[in-house]
């Protein structure tokens, strides 16, 4: 395996190779924990950007943003490479779902697939330097939500994650819709694979318009749902064919070949597979889609303030044909003058706590169980709308968040360790609060927290900071 530039850099920097490493390749298998340089006021912007566009500051990524400045860092994030730190590359390589297709997974237990999917998502979010990409993977995975326990969707979801989400995460939105429409996982999840001309199944047709593109108020009717369902009849997946299993197939004998009308557009008879392709074009070019996608992205990245900016982003969608990078640049610009906060969902909370404490973790069951008890077991939201983003949906997760903070800092999570003494070695005074919030100690909130946690041992202090109301926001 070739060593990426970043890996070479880390190795040359004198990284300690930990027990269990492969002496031949010299790869690091475990995170080398570091000490956080004392934060200053000058770090505030970098921290805010990492919180909102990544999964919170880790000592390494903070260093990267400091070096480049927030603007250059953000721009570089929009063109990520596949290079990952050696430790992450090693751990991802051990997860077979990252390369396996439905045929390779045929003898697997569903739980094992789901666990690896979750593990890969957490590992990438915690350790990848390509934080904006991972943040967007969370957004789009939820946008095109697939419940892994529906039918055999779990066996198809790893391929969907690679070919639909990760491949298009910073590309053009219409391409992602197109990829999703051809994804066996989505076809299975929304009952498309058996739909036929006698009576078309409306499930995928409806959610394509309601949730993936136009939005529920996007101006389509029940008639449109039924017509779109007719257009997609015959869109299915290969079943028995070894390596082709789970690939897209168009079954022309199941297709309704009559004429259709979708959102006022005539689709002539005899179009075959092109009917569905035409629908994707119609819905992704529809002005309602530009508004719906802009509004959803703005809400996700800017919170309540997002609504003020969504028209501008919708305009960019229309000008660029749904270019996600261009929309992200605009959202980033708006973010720099925004003031409000956005709640961390459990996934954000867990990952940001691990990054703040520089935890070395395999992100295995120990971590995943905590996330599940907070109510966000990844890939297991049953409904097609994805995990909610609003604050009130998550008010029941407080206790589970506190218990995670306690377990993380006291070393009770299997395969996960922190070295808080080392992390805070460069800090003076209110070490825990400074480290958790990456904020200099003059900040009023830090002063309040420091006063409350004073008198506890360092791990308890860090636990309380992670459990505090302030740390629930990004």
């Amino acid at each position: 395996m070739k060593l990426s530039r970043r890996e070479a850099f880390v190795a040359l920097g004198g990284a300690t190779l930990l027990a269990g490493c492969n002496p031949v390749s010299g790869q690091m298998r475990k995170l080398e924990q570091t000490s956080l340089p004392a934060p200053t006021k000058a770090d505030d912007e970098a921290v805010a950007v990492l919180n909102r566009f990544g999964f919170g500051p880790s000592p390494r990524d903070l260093e990267a943003v400091r070096k480049k400045g927030v603007d250059d860092w953000f721009e570089s994030q929009l063109s990520p490479s596949d290079d990952e730190p050696a430790m992450l590359g090693y751990q991802l390589q051990r997860l077979d779902i990252n390369s396996f297709g439905p045929w390779d997974l045929r003898d697997w237990k569903e739980e094992a697939i789901v666990e690896q999917l979750q593990q890969a998502a957490v590992l990438r979010a915690v350790y990848s330097p390509w934080q904006v990409r991972e943040r967007l993977c969370d957004f789009w995975t939820n946008h095109f939500n697939i419940y892994a326990r529906k039918g055999l969707a779990a066996y198809r979801k790893p391929m969907d994650e690679r070919e639909v989400v990760r491949k298009n995460v910073l590309g053009k939105f219409p391409e992602m819709v197109r990829a999703s429409a051809h994804s066996a996982a989505m076809l299975v999840y929304l009952d498309q694979q058996n739909s036929n001309a006698n009576q078309a199944n409306e499930n995928y047709a409806r959610e394509l318009m309601e949730l993936h593109t136009l939005g529920v108020h996007g101006g389509y009717t029940q008639e449109d749902v039924m017509e779109v369902a007719r257009c997609f009849t015959g869109w299915s997946e290969e079943r028995g064919f070894l390596q082709r299993k789970g690939a897209f197939v168009f079954l022309s004998d199941r297709h309704d070949n009559g004429e259709k009308t979708v959102l006022g557009h005539k689709i002539p008879a005899g179009g075959g597979v092109e009917d569905g392709e035409k629908v994707i074009q119609i819905v992704t070019e529809h002005p309602a889609t530009s508004k719906y996608i802009a509004s959803k992205m703005c809400r996700y990245f800017l919170g309540e303030e997002g609504s003020a900016h969504e028209d501008a982003v919708a305009e960019i969608y229309r000008e660029t044909g749904g270019d996600i990078k261009a929309m992200m640049r605009s959202i980033f610009g708006a973010f720099k003058s925004s003031k409000n906060t956005v709640l961390k969902r459990p996934f954000d909370y867990v990952v940001s706590a691990m990054r703040a404490t520089d935890a070395a973790s395999t992100a295995g069951k120990g971590v995943l169980d905590h996330m599940a008890s907070m109510g966000q077991a990844l890939y297991l939201w049953p409904m097609p709308d994805g995990y909610p983003v609003d604050t009130t949906s998550w008010t029941g997760s407080m206790l589970a968040r506190w218990n995670f903070a306690l377990a993380l800092t006291s070393g009770e999570i299997g395969g996960t360790s922190v070295n808080l003494k080392k992390l805070t070695a460069n800090l003076d005074g209110s070490k825990a609060a400074q480290a958790v919030f990456v904020c200099d100690s003059s900040h009023p909130a830090i002063r309040r927290l420091s006063e409350i946690v004073a008198g506890f041992e360092l791990p308890e202090q860090v636990a309380l900071c992670l459990a505090s109301p302030e740390f629930q926001w990004k």
Binding site: T395, S397, M398, F456, A463
Partner: protein, 427 residues
């Protein structure tokens, strides 16, 4: 999912609650042990009424349960014309019991998967409400669920918070921070805005993993000022922990030989039974049953939906057995966001429809009856793309429950804009 709301809508949670709570923090209370934690809302506003020890358990069937195959109108020929494969055989057909409908009233029959409800219906403590629903015509799960849980006619309505939240916030009730409980990771929309409600995945796991009293005190200080939704959630969570202190659900054993299925629905209902028996001031419990979006191969007297029905009816029947004499205080509502299309589809399933079916059972129910202003299944009697018409507003049933079981003095305040009154399902 649309979960917006306005802070000035009087629903309680957003807006002025904080200052009221802050104003009255520490007000002296005595008597029932949980009153030490009762909310400032209870103390600050003049609230009347409450459930007086009665409990409503709401089971929401997520995904749009097929009312026509839960309680089938076998007396109508068009039922079989629309459903050549999925139609359930009439009670008088020659096939074995368990493979055909259980007769209810000579026109409607109960799916054999709901056999555990047969006894309740015959003894008069279970009522079916059919062709019931909201005014939602979008066929969207999310719009339809949201509409029903908010207690709305459709998405043009604006009453803030959920219908159960509005009820809890306008009544005094037990004053417990656990007046409303959802056995789920998050509160359902029906409880959104309720100050005295809490979501918990599992009651046994609802404990802080430290014995250190100083740590608990420090958490209390961190969350002393409920200034926003999260700070308030933390504050409330600490109050609930205090309420559950000394209560150990891990030792729970059901009574009366009640046999809960080992399923999410069975386990959630056994936790509800535990909370009811522990007398922690519970008035409303919400649980979800998922998997009802049967677009393909939904089955008839076996298969997917049959399994869901068996699980549902056995779990609910186990709850009522387990509760023993407390069943006299407990009423169960089973609802879903919409019914399904009258005609089966090519995948031997059914698509989203409109009119559906509800069940109310337990204490106070005028049961042994199917309440239906039956609209018929002849093609020109169908609504929209071929749906069962909605002829009964679901809020009529909720009005009965609020008025007769939960002690709400004025359900019109819970459903502003609804003037239809109750249906008499509950006496």
């Amino acid at each position: 999912m649309k979960r917006d709301w306005c802070s000035c809508d009087g629903s309680g949670r957003a807006g002025t609650v904080t200052s009221r709570r802050a104003l009255l923090a520490g007000a002296a209370t005595a008597g029932v042990w949980w009153l030490g934690t009762r909310s400032a809302l209870a103390q600050a506003t003049i609230r009347k009424g409450g459930s007086d020890g009665n409990v409503l358990v709401v089971v929401f069937l997520r995904g749009g349960a097929d009312g026509l195959n839960m309680v089938a109108p076998y007396g109508e020929d068009d039922y079989y014309r629309h459903r050549p494969s999925l139609g359930l055989k009439s009670p008088s057909s020659g096939v074995a019991a368990g493979k055909k409908l259980i007769d209810l009233d000579g026109f409607f029959g109960l799916n054999p998967g709901l056999a555990a409800f047969e006894g309740l219906y015959k003894e008069g403590s279970l009522a079916v409400i059919h062709a019931v629903g909201s005014g939602d015509v979008t066929h969207s799960h999310f719009e339809a669920m949201n509409t029903m849980e908010r207690g709305w006619k459709n998405q043009q309505d604006t009453a803030g918070g959920g219908w159960l939240a509005r009820h809890l916030n306008m009544t005094e009730g037990s004053g417990s921070p656990l007046r409303g409980v959802s056995i789920a990771p998050v509160l359902p929309d029906s409880l959104l805005g309720a100050v005295e409600a809490q979501a918990m995945v599992n009651v046994s796991e609802f404990r802080l993993n430290t014995q250190d009293e100083a740590m608990k005190a420090a958490l209390g200080r961190l969350y002393a000022n409920p200034g926003d939704d999260i700070a308030r959630a933390g504050h409330d969570t600490l109050a609930v922990l205090k309420s559950l202190n000394g209560v150990d659900p891990r030792t729970y054993q059901s009574d009366g030989g009640a046999n809960y299925p080992q399923t999410p629905v069975g386990e959630a209902l056994s936790q509800v039974a535990f909370l009811i028996k522990r007398d922690i001031g519970l008035e409303v419990a919400c649980i979800d049953a998922g998997g009802w979006d049967t677009h393909v191969t939904q089955g008839s007297t076996d298969g997917w939906m049959y399994g869901l029905l068996e699980d549902l009816s056995r779990s609910v029947a186990a709850l009522m057995t387990d509760l023993g004499s407390l069943a006299q205080k407990t009423t169960v509502l089973i609802q879903t966001e919409f019914g399904r299309r009258v005609a089966e589809n090519s995948g031997l399933g059914t698509d989203h429809g409109t009119g559906g079916c509800m069940f109310v059972l337990g204490a106070g129910v005028n049961g042994g009856k199917v309440y239906a202003d039956w609209p018929g299944l002849v093609p020109d009697q169908l609504a929209g793309p071929g749906d069962l018409q909605t002829t009964t507003d679901y809020r009529a049933v909720l009005t009965d429950l609020l008025l007769r079981r939960l002690g709400n003095p004025d359900p019109r305040k819970v459903f502003p804009g609804y003037s239809g009154g109750g249906l008499g399902v509950v006496g």
